[in-house]
Symmetry: C2
Subunit: 722 residues, 2 copies
């Protein structure tokens, strides 16, 4: 069963410095045979001119690629910070033991054949991790491409990839070796400087969360790029990412959407929490910049490495050709950027620089005759105005104007405004030199306007995220999380018959009531009755009108089979309703156990609050409008627990149908704070109780005077330490 994991790392964790800033490197598995990892990786280490000694380890050879070799780590006789292991899988564990004995600082295990290959490999991986933990060595891999640090004081290329990219401010991590090779290639080809690169492979120890923590403290790193298939410890990742995103943007390709496995969903929330909603929620909350492809990863990196994040969504488009200007305007609209009409004053300024046939509206079409000087003057005027937050300069090479002159002119105009500027130099000919000139001025350039706009839009989204208040973790008063967790655990313990083949237990009526009461979530007064007389009695105790709900084995959608009778105003209506339920149960061939007598909640808006878990165990909180809205329109939104107060407020406002809660067409506004309060209470449970698989408060009736749960379902399962 997938469950969240929290490693006991914290402050006692050894540093990654021996791995990423080693002063000496041993390479176990070095080889003189061309075309092997053992030879390619050593060649890379040498080509990069590592700043410390490299000690190849080989059982027989005296030298590998001309470098003196040692028969084992112990024989080196000098301190070794980093040991790289590319020996056969069966030799990795003994080699790691030898490294531990020799006082090696950290390991990078290239070798495959561990957790990714079945039970034997998994056992080997556990043994490897245990050796490292005992010795205080951090471990990258196994089954990885290696690590890179371009720092001129380090110059480590411990990979077997063909490319060693130039130094810069972009740190990269990849869970896939193949994508890692593609990322190193792309960075090099696009001239994007790298600070460090880590191929995390099986992430038996070092995972993305550790790297975020490391790069947070790395002065050379200003932007982080990630290719991930899964989060190691999603809650820890979320927490660190949310912190780091405030100072260094994190751009991520998160793959593995289609890996949804695990248990089939039995709740509404579970059935709606499909695809990569967890990732979407995490992105939304943690300020990640999520992109879909590796290409977009680098489009984004080229921007973030040097350009400021825009302070607003207003884009000026400057072009010498109408078509691309229109494409850019379309793209802006599609991605929620404004292309504002310019003020008369600004338009007049621009008109003073341009021929009469030019258009000084936005997009500013300077027409094909535009000169470099006109680009410079117009770019300056637009950037200096307070009417725009960012500039997109488009250039289509006409016959006359030299692209490089235009590039230099734009670069001059870009200085000193504190506003982002991106370029799109179209056409594949004669533009390379111009692109180089832009690159030298740190102005990112894209081949098509849409790519440039996409980058600006994501940057503006990130700017908006940065401008939001950070919020606080809040547990509302009277929310006894421990007591609620105890209710869930007791239900699992007492599961018995209610436990299904997967070990999952559906919580019964009394446990559900106890759960809500422990959390302090208001619910409609409700009692169970085993007979019609008892039901009438309890109805009188609760107060009329009441609702009578069928309690029968294996029935979830009670209303589908006529199992709910509402607005019963007196005892005789309760008796009649009981008979109707009994008859409905018989008609559908289900065994009636009794009925629930519940206070009738009148008016208000039906909403749904739910908890579900993504395959990695991440607790997902759902909110939406109830009934048809949730079932057909899927008008729901997700966040990851634990929610901060700002998250709860945002989640309530996220569904398209939110106006129905907020005084739509003269209706009374419901108590939004009450819904937020319920969300925070449920969030506290979801975060603290990995046993809770699914929870539906459906409906939670929201009214002007509060919110009250009318029906609830929950399932739980014993928590297995992963």
């Amino acid at each position: 069963m997938p469950t969240p994991t929290t490693r006991s790392t914290a402050n006692s964790t050894p540093s990654l410095a021996p791995i990423l800033r080693p002063r000496s490197v041993a390479f176990l598995g070095a080889s003189n045979r061309p075309g092997t990892i053992g030879s390619e990786l050593l060649r890379n280490l040498l080509r990069a001119e590592f700043k410390g000694p490299i000690y190849p380890v080989h059982p027989k050879e005296r030298a590998v690629l001309g470098v003196r070799a040692y028969p084992d780590v112990a024989a080196i006789g000098e301190p070794v910070d980093l040991a790289i292991l590319a020996v056969p899988a069966a030799q990795v564990v003994p080699a790691a033991r030898a490294c531990a004995a020799a006082g090696v600082g950290g390991l990078v295990v290239i070798t495959a054949g561990f957790g990714e290959t079945g039970a034997e490999g998994a056992a080997r991986q556990r043994e490897l991790v245990a050796i490292c933990a005992t010795a205080g060595m951090r471990l990258v891999g196994p089954n990885c491409l290696g690590v890179v640090n371009t720092d001129p004081k380090v110059r480590l290329d411990a990979t077997f990839a063909p490319t060693f990219p130039g130094p810069g401010s972009v740190a990269m991590a990849s869970q896939s070796g193949a994508l890692g090779v593609a990322m190193l290639d792309a960075a090099d080809a696009l001239g994007i400087g790298i600070s460090e690169f880590v191929s995390i492979g099986n992430k038996a120890d070092v995972a993305a969360d550790d790297l975020l923590e490391w790069w947070a403290a790395d002065a050379r790193t200003r932007v982080v790029l990630l290719y991930l298939e899964s989060f190691g410890d999603p809650l820890r990742f979320a927490q660190i990412a949310r912190e780091l995103s405030r100072s260094k943007p994190i751009v991520a390709v998160k793959s593995g959407r289609s890996e949804r496995g695990g248990l089939a969903a039995s709740s509404h929330t579970g059935s709606l929490a499909t695809g990569d909603l967890a990732v979407g929620a995490l992105v939304e909350q943690c300020g990640l910049l999520r992109v879909d492809t590796v290409e977009e990863l680098f489009d984004m990196a080229a921007f973030l490495a040097h350009q400021p994040v825009p302070r607003g969504r207003r884009v000026a488009i400057l072009t010498n050709s109408g078509g691309p200007g229109i494409l850019a305007t379309d793209a802006c609209e599609a991605l929620g950027l404004d292309v504002p009409e310019l003020s008369t004053a600004l338009a007049t300024t621009l008109a003073g620089e341009l021929p009469a046939a030019a258009s000084v509206h936005n997009p500013v079409d300077m027409i094909a005759s535009a000169t470099a000087a006109q680009y410079e003057a117009c770019a300056r005027a637009l950037l200096a105005s307070d009417e725009v937050d960012a500039l997109l300069a488009i250039f289509v090479p006409p016959i006359v104007t030299d692209p490089t002159d235009v590039a230099r002119a734009i670069a001059r105009a870009a200085r000193g405004h504190g506003k982002p500027i991106v370029a799109c130099f179209m056409g594949l000919r004669g533009v390379a030199e111009a692109t180089d000139a832009l690159e030298a001025a740190h102005i990112p350039s894209y081949a098509f306007p849409e790519a440039a706009v996409r980058v600006l839009a994501r940057a503006a989204d990130h700017g908006a995220w940065l401008a939001r208040p950070e919020g606080h973790h809040v547990v509302p008063q009277g929310c006894d999380v421990e007591a609620a967790v105890a209710v869930v655990r007791a239900a699992i313990g007492a599961g018995g018959d209610a436990t299904d083949a997967n070990g999952r237990v559906e919580l019964e009526g009394e446990a559900l009531a106890a759960l809500l009461d422990a959390l302090g979530v208001p619910r409609a007064a409700s009692r169970q009755a085993c007979g019609a007389g008892e039901a009438a009695e309890q109805a009188r105790a609760i107060g009329f009108p009441v609702v009578l709900k069928l309690v029968a084995e294996g029935v979830s959608h009670k209303s589908d089979l006529g199992g709910v009778k509402v607005d019963l105003r007196n005892e005789s209506e309760v008796f009649a309703a009981w008979d109707a339920l009994a008859e409905a149960a018989e008609r559908h061939g289900v065994r009636m156990v009794g009925a629930q007598v519940q206070a009738m909640v009148k008016g208000g808006v039906e909403t749904i609050v739910g908890v579900s878990r993504d395959p990695s165990g991440l607790p997902l909180l759902m909110f939406g409008l109830g009934g048809v809205h949730v079932e057909l329109m899927r008008d729901v939104a997700f966040r990851i627990a634990p929610l901060r107060d700002v998250d709860a407020a945002a989640l309530v406002r996220a569904p398209r149908g939110f106006p129905l809660l907020d005084g739509y067409r003269g209706a009374a506004k419901v108590d939004l704070a009450a819904i937020e309060d319920v969300l925070l209470r449920v969030s506290a449970l979801a975060a603290a109780c990995p046993e809770l698989l699914e929870l539906d408060l459906n409906p939670l009736i929201a009214r002007p005077d509060g919110a009250v749960v009318v029906d609830v379902r929950a399932s739980a399962q014993a928590y297995l330490q992963p």
Copy 2:
């Protein structure tokens, strides 16, 4: 006001052959001065080695670029099929007259300064068009880049673009000269062969619809690529595109989404018909393959030029690396392609070819050791099975295997299955040669898996469109379109006070009733009353229960101000309701004119049927679920009128809330045929009556026994011939 236009072209239109397959070319504006269009275009004509004579026309020079020149067209003294004009704007009209007099077959006008520049230019353009029409010359441009035909028997490069691409089966048209240059460059760089290229510029005469018609009959053309900012004659375009798409795929970048101008919307339909819904509807109905960027245009072209459209949505992924396989699987899921689990038999076959560590599930991960022979054997097995409809082969260059060997192996396996195959060779190094090998085998290759999957998904969508029945144009019985159009025109004529500043008239109650009756659209029995007594009398005549609706000046959302009283069961309730309406009108400061007495329609599902117009005048038909669904959820869908029967059926089923019509949770199914019938009636009016701006049947109550209109609004405006 934007209105649909229907040119009186039809069969009498002169052919485009003199322009696109000329036997001789005159070039007015030829120049010896380097860096001018007059010199670049002539250089292109010569470089392409045009198969007929080229006659430069220059007032003074005896030769241009070494070719004998003539002082004017008349002086050539030989038949001229095509005249290219790049003379100054003021000289274009006289030059066109001279061409007409000299019996030239057709014109391409490069010169700018016409309709795109204001009143004077527009007048000049009208004059130019008139000259051409009279002389029977078709006209490309003005304000364009020129035309290309790569046919070895023609070899025409009448553009000033730097690239003359190789011959092939892809025809291209661009409304933007700049994008045209980019398209020619991209085709050349990607090795995509072109049949013909036309830069349509201001499309004063020849527009995309004409080119589709021309390419339909062109044996060399198998795929059409379009970059469009607007449709010249959208209805004609739609009709021709729908026809052509059956035999030759049309891939389009349609820009200009943000150009929505025209009238502010006053109806629901109008306010929902924003952005590029018209284009979306047109794409859906006409089988266009719409892409977002020029890059995707060529991704698609590379596929369609040689690969068959898949017969289903099942994709096999064959890879030597896990990460890209997962990325591809994700992309498939996101785009609605299946990556099916393979049968045990097929998995066993694959396992027989591969090492134990390989995964023979789909994606098939052959791991890094995969050889060319393994690629070939597995690709063959997958393509031969009846479990997949298409194959994506991913290759990440490891150290050992040669990419070109793998490419050749895949090419061999691809033959003779009739199933599409696409490749993704990742990493920028050492793959160019491999890509060439794939290109030679007509297997499109993409740099990243997502691009490859996107192409397959669009191709599968197109395959599904091709498999759908074509349907028929149907006008239901008893639908008197002429009478309905007459109602609209009469309302415009009698507009008077009801006409707003834009000349728009809101139709009044009796006209609306007459309109629905002429179309044969069922409506709830309804009468107007001027006093309470009259209302009670009419209620008795209609039959209780009734609804009373306020009729007041300038009130659209009656229910917002308490202007609708429902379920009135007797005369005294009608009197009370009348007083309530009067009071509500007074409270809101509106003048009560009277009330509408309407039969109460009980039960059923509220739907909305509407007509709106996009900025080009294209009539849009909308259908959705009513009330909150339409207002908050925007759960509506659009098609372009006139609908075929299959369109009406698809439109009814398009909203997410469709299950509410189809027996949701045990409710009775409504009469879908009755809704389709209403849609076809309204469609007939929308297509025949350009004066009709907006129409809302809101709600149209759908019930098991039919559909009936309960409220209707419409506005119209005098039709101005464009």
